[in-house]
């Protein structure tokens, strides 16, 4: 099997705050295989967005990557072995600039404000192409236009209308689709989507999800989907990783995670999502709130909110262990978590 497009190993990121260090990402490791879609799921403040920004090296000045490695592998079309391996954390200057968007593009949550208000959509495409050494002559200008229009049609926009528009003349959903088209302009191998539909209404959300699925089928890029919404993740992802307090606590195939989750937090997240068929009484939320990332709890970081927590959970942090092929969990009680939680809910 070919090596993964992206390999993250032991990545740790801290923010410097007045009160102390915010441990946003703690020793996270995961892979994104070629053409695979991985979802990072977690509450706000779990560190999932920091991972995304870290991969693009776009962290604010107060953030510090204190350890780990991010290896990106570029494949030539049709080839099965990586033609180039890049340590993203070692990239500097122009190399870093060229890595961004050409190899790895990112669609942000803030659809409304992601485009420069004083530039036309066409100028956004031209700027991006120019920055990466395309578009110098008239003929390339025409080529850029053709390529951009093709992408805009693929995200179900009317290129003729959108091309000469200013961002404020487009709706939020249209802007997000423009950004997706823009992300694909340089044919990146990896697309990071950070809550791409959160700021949008439910119908637009649906539309964007369909567009993303379609594009992935057509273009075959790898995807890292960052969201708090399990249902959306399930739709798009091949594998799902649950992030809690800056660490991956469960990761596995999307079906496995939904059918046989082992971590009490993942179980809680799934139970917190209403479905049309489930009745209201089976709906539970995870009690409590995310931990303070400056003063993390001892032991398992989830123990203050976990009904199954015992003395061991309070003292030792469980490691991520493979409990069945491709399914990893970090919990002392994974063997009986589901039954125990069911019994616990029946009691209360």
């Amino acid at each position: 099997m070919a090596e993964p497009t992206l390999s993250v190993r032991d990545l740790s990121i801290v923010y410097q705050a007045r009160r102390g260090q915010v441990q946003a990402v703690r020793n996270i490791s995961f892979d994104v295989e070629r053409g695979e879609a991985v979802a990072l799921i977690g509450e706000s403040g779990s560190g999932k967005t920091t991972v995304g920004l870290g991969l693009m090296r776009l962290l604010p000045a107060t953030a510090n990557i204190i350890g780990g490695s991010i290896v990106y592998r570029r494949y030539k079309n049709g080839s099965n072995s990586a033609s180039r391996e890049t340590e993203v954390l070692a990239l500097k200057g122009d190399n870093l600039r060229q890595f961004r968007w050409r190899e790895c593009a990112m669609v942000f949550q803030s659809a409304l404000n992601a485009l420069n208000p004083v530039l036309r959509i066409s100028e956004h495409f031209a700027d991006t192409a120019k920055a990466h050494g395309y578009l110098s002559g008239y003929r390339q200008g025409t080529a850029l236009r053709e390529r951009s229009w093709q992408l805009l049609s693929m995200v179900r926009l009317d290129p003729e209308r959108v091309w000469r528009s200013f961002p404020h003349e487009l709706s939020g959903g249209m802007r997000q689709r423009v950004l997706i088209a823009l992300a694909l302009l340089l044919e990146p191998q990896l697309l990071i989507l950070d809550e791409p539909t959160t700021a949008l209404d439910i119908l637009t959300q649906r539309n964007i999800m369909d567009v993303l699925k379609e594009l992935r089928d057509k273009l075959g890029f790898s995807m890292l989907f960052i969201s708090h919404d399990l249902a959306l993740a399930a739709e798009l992802a091949d594998r799902v990783a649950t992030v809690y307090a800056g660490k991956i606590i469960e990761v596995g195939d999307v079906r496995t995670i939904f059918r046989r989750p082992y971590h009490p937090y993942t179980i809680g997240l799934i139970k917190a999502v209403p479905t049309l068929t489930s009745d209201k009484s089976s709906l539970v939320s995870v009690p409590g709130s995310p931990p303070d990332l400056i003063q993390l709890p001892t032991g398992c970081k989830f123990h203050p909110r976990c009904p199954l927590a015992d003395e061991r959970s309070q003292q030792e942090e469980p490691a991520l262990i493979e409990v069945e092929p491709g399914h990893h969990v970090a919990c002392w009680h994974w063997t009986h978590a589901r039954e125990a939680l069911k019994a616990y809910r029946a009691e209360t």
């Binding site: 600039r97 968007w101 990112m106 992601a114 208000p117 004083v118 700027d127 120019k130 404020h168």
Partner: protein, 357 residues
């Protein structure tokens, strides 16, 4: 068929044209501007006449005191102030408006016989040149320094520039002017004292000669420096805060993610958005260029419009005051109009009503 349509549409076309004019933003703004100017002209007219010891009477008194007969004094006063004193106030007012519309602002009664229009035309170029150039320098340098402060936020260079800017902003321009004369002219002797008096050396012929131009520059340099120093602080601070805010915008982060060069991000993404609000201020400042600076022009005996205004106030030369106020009003009002249009043109989000289609 065609003729019927035409005859039917003609009245409605005419009507819609009238409607268009009525609803046109430009026309409404223009009407408002003209109204402001009229209002200021009217208030100036009546205030001057309502002042205790009304100006016309004072002039008549002064002239009689010089030994002129009451009748002659009255006639001369009327001629100088461009009003007919036998007319009721309303009639005088109408005459004044009519004359003003024709560009006749009356005659100075201190510099006998000189028309106010001529006096203003004589001094206006000096003010436009000195204050306009200073404004341009302040704008460009202020924006550059403000951007540097924002990019180097919380470094020593930012702290230094911020403090300098805040200090300059707090000191009165007059004090900066005095300090400049004292330090540059007397203590350090960097600039000859004579260069700080007037707009040019006596005896130099105006024209496009190197001699004239260097002389003009030598005379204006300290004044220019004082203008720039006294106003650059607030431009720097405002540009810094605008740039800091813009740097935090999502589209800047996205631009970085898109791998754009730092130069492109600085100019098209950060700079353009951060300077937008400053253009309004620039356009409004252009209006005040005409007013010049009364204090600084007096301090440097720079014969611009501020100098003229100061002198006319101290000499109670009411027609000149009236004329200068009117000119300042007109330029400020039209600069505001300009500011609106410039902004609409620079920022695609602002659409001026009635401009589309």
């Amino acid at each position: 068929m065609t003729t019927i349509t035409t005859s039917q549409t003609t009245p409605s076309t005419l009507w819609s044209t009238i409607q268009k004019i009525r609803s046109s933003y430009l026309w409404r703004r223009l009407a408002k501007a003209l109204f402001s100017i009229w209002l200021v002209a009217t208030i100036t007219f009546f205030v001057i006449r309502a002042m205790p010891g009304n100006a016309v009477d004072i002039l008549i008194q002064e002239l009689t005191a010089q030994g002129m007969s009451a009748e002659d004094a009255k006639n001369q006063a009327a001629a100088l102030m461009n009003i007919d004193l036998d007319q009721p106030l309303a009639g005088q007012y109408l005459d004044y408006l009519g004359n003003t519309l024709r560009g006749d602002l009356g005659h100075s009664y201190k510099s006998a016989g000189l028309s106010v229009t001529d006096m203003i035309v004589q001094v206006l170029p000096w003010t436009l040149f000195s204050v306009g150039l200073a404004l341009l320098i302040t704008f460009v340098v202020g924006i550059a320094l403000g951007t540097i402060m924002a990019y180097k936020r919380d470094t020593w260079i930012d702290h230094l520039l911020s403090n300098v800017a805040a200090t300059l902003d707090a000191i009165s321009p007059y004090l900066i002017g005095l300090l400049a004369i004292l330090l540059l002219g007397l203590t350090w002797k960097l600039v000859p004292i004579m260069d700080m008096r007037g707009a040019m050396s006596p005896g130099i012929k105006p024209g496009f000669t190197l001699e004239f131009l260097t002389d003009v520059f030598r005379h204006v340099r300290v004044l220019l420096l004082v203008y720039v120093l006294s106003s650059i602080g607030s431009w720097m601070l405002q540009m810094k805060s605008n740039t800091v805010a813009t740097l935090g915008e999502d589209y800047v982060t996205v631009a970085r993610a898109r791998g754009l060069t730092d130069g492109r991000i600085l100019t098209a993404y950060v700079g353009r958005n951060a300077t937008l609000p400053l253009f309004t201020r620039l356009a409004i400042s252009v209006g005040f260029v005409v007013g010049g600076s009364v204090l600084l022009e007096t301090l440097f005996t720079y014969r611009g419009i501020g100098f003229l205004l100061a002198r006319s106030i101290s000499e109670r030369d009411y027609p000149v005051m009236q004329g200068v106020f009117l000119i300042i009003t007109i330029s400020v009002v039209f600069a505001n109009l300009l500011a609106d249009y410039v902004y609409g043109w620079l920022d695609p989000r602002v659409h001026i009503m009635g401009e589309e289609n």
